[in-house]
Symmetry: D2
Subunit: 250 residues, 4 copies
């Protein structure tokens, strides 16, 4: 046990609201350590990854810091009628982490990953601010947000669309990963990794993103295998993400 | 030191979101203990009362449990475009507390208080569900929500009005305390306590509520003295609230 | 996600010291829920099980509450020169849990398990207070404490022996599981479950306990397979423990 | 609200044990911020100062970080039969803070204070490692440990003497503040501040320390006024400590 786990309650200026993040820091290894921003899904908060997986343990051998923020049910967007979660994620959070903690700010040491809505968030962040990250990973990502806005009729989704988007059309804009992936020079992008279970309702969205990336000449390490939209799958797959992102030192 | 402090992360079904509450429980004294629901202000979360006051210490001598939930910037309402924070507060929270913790559910043992937006929340809860509470207190409460909706032009307020209310008119409805206070039989109400600083920008709202209560024949223990809209004032006044709610055992 | 996780800081009267426990509570299912006391190893604290395994997730489907206390490096004993951790564990902790939380106190709903030093603690508690538990499990348990006192020359062990035992001889006394297991009527005991990795330095201690239990006519569901003294093993095995203790509802 | 509060669970190598600290960090103001190490009393843990005072609020205006560790009932000593809490406090803790957090390590930005046993700890640390601190403060300090070892017959004290000291004589050694204060050059010392209530059972110990300091030519800002050995006193006095240590910016 050579990690520290931190629960940090702080005032988010962009949100005008108190919020929390969970942070894992290595007690050994080089300083400042590399850092993974790890994003939660729709109904979760900052505590989910540490509660439903053993992420701290998986990060230990790599000397990897992990930062887990929370953004409610916002799709990591500036909500049309609500709070500016994109500004919070992409500007305030890294600045706050950099102010408080001794973690590396170098691109080659900085990673992002997430599950479901957080997989969408991870790829959106990587595509919009490719200079920040060495690599990004999406697990079971809700990657086709235009489809969700237009066609996903499940009540828990319909309820959030007006708040997040109001009349703003996702398709073709900068919330639309299938569009974004065409708009950046492939050479500037971080490495991308994608996994989705073949029993996952989001499977087709993942296939569409992979196709769009391929059409745009953007390489993605994509894999589809048995799996549902459940924490057991993410607990298994996050280990693969880390193996891919940052091999254990020999 | 004979209290326990609890940080509870749980899934709020009405919000479809993970949330947190801070709970203080007495280790001594009669079981089940009386309980105070203590509500936060606009930019705060569940941790604010324990961080900016010594509420746990003040509750100790009384053997009083304190439950501190969080509702974002919702004015303890079901947001027009957002989440059902009123349902969460008034139904799910007490049911969850009752499921998890051994605290009294008797009316004579149940109290509610809050500051600013939370003072509004405390009185709204007491006026709408008077059968729950023996007493309710508002400190520096944002009590005239119709005024806020119609006339408060500060940017941090304008930004939340569309989310919380959309086109819903507060005045004369069940979010309007000046209306609510006329609509319940005074004999059914819990005891009411109100304090506001004379240097507080919300002073006039408090005076209007007191006038409306008086006109409706509802007694309020109201007091106005030197004070601003700051935590030092609430740290001082919450002790007066507890003295008034639940005298220390001799 | 239908569980709550609680961090509780409280004053332990028997220890004359503030301490913490982590508690997992089901939000759904029958009330009061069954409860597992889950004990940590030598260098860990109350947070270890939730950090290095996904215990909350494994408990979810069973509607099982989990209580994780901490006892420093005490071997769950009243230290000869130190604090009364046995009294804390066996009397104060259950009373505190019963005072605060709505969990079942019925024997058929009460379980104990632990790893390493905590495996020792779990079996000690079950053998000394068999009326409390329906079942007990030890993973990689430090089960032969007399051997440890007499022969374990590793510095991190030698350092604690004077504090915990001073001149008190373990062998043949009520800290000695190999003795205790002969001293109770097998019919009164909870069900026992034991797992230890064949690469674990504690393997022989586990074999000796199993032999002693067998000699005493006490049935133990014992299993030895590949595994070391590491969290990956306990994360795997605790799922087997739960399957054995409390089958998932169909 | 422009502070963050952090709960950090980490592995203390010198203790061979998981432990916790609470840390308050300013979100605004110069980086790295000045830092106060704030020490707890005999029966408390790292959470006490934040629970029983509003320390976070008092630190806000000064942009002061506050680090609150925990050392059980050790008198901040390497226990004769137990754990090396002095090594933990004086070496591992600052190194860990320096590894994790961006706080100043400059002498003029570093402070230490504590109450009761923690007042003793604060002065011991300042006298033994005067190069670390700009100033040190003791509130209601248990400052005459030789007296406590030799004459304090209260059961909760007698119980800990064997563990902490065994046969080691405090008087005249480096656990004895009345001795230590004579052994350092006054010019090398940080500024010293001392407060104790006139109704406090430790009053005479404080008077003896002040006399010893005076005899040694060490200036102490000492004050005695009405007050008992209770948190209300410390909540009041810690504000005086901060005013003296680090005046608020104009």
């Amino acid at each position: 046990m050579v990690m520290a786990v931190i629960r940090c309650d702080f005032a988010a200026e962009t949100l005008e609201l108190g919020t929390s993040m969970t942070v894992v820091l290595p007690e050994e290894g080089p300083t400042p350590p590399p850092v993974l921003y790890l994003l939660h899904g729709l109904s979760d908060d900052h505590s989910a990854w540490t509660r439903f997986t053993a992420i701290e343990r998986y990060a230990t051998d790599r000397g990897l810091a992990v930062v887990m923020p929370q953004v409610h049910r916002s799709f990591y967007a500036n909500e049309a009628v609500g709070m500016r979660f994109w500004d919070f994620l992409s500007e305030e959070l890294p600045a706050t982490v950099d102010r408080f903690f001794k973690v590396s700010a170098r691109r080659e040491d900085t990673f992002v990953a997430g599950l479901s809505m957080g997989g969408y968030g991870a790829f959106k962040w990587a595509l919009r601010q490719p200079h920040r990250f060495a690599a990004a990973a999406s697990l079971s990502g809700a990657l086709d947000l235009a489809y969700i806005q237009e066609f996903d009729l499940r009540p828990h989704i319909r309820g959030l669309v007006p708040r997040v988007f109001a009349d703003r059309q996702v398709r073709g804009g900068d919330e639309d990963l299938l569009h974004l992936v065409k708009s950046v020079a492939p050479a500037e992008l971080p490495r991308l990794f994608l996994r989705c279970g073949t029993e996952d309702v989001l499977l087709k969205q993942n296939e569409r993103f992979v196709a769009a990336a391929q059409a745009a000449g953007v390489p993605v390490d994509a894999g589809f295998g048995p799996g549902e939209h459940v924490w057991q799958y993410w607990d298994d797959q996050i280990r693969n993400v880390l193996d891919w992102m940052l091999p254990k030192p020999v």
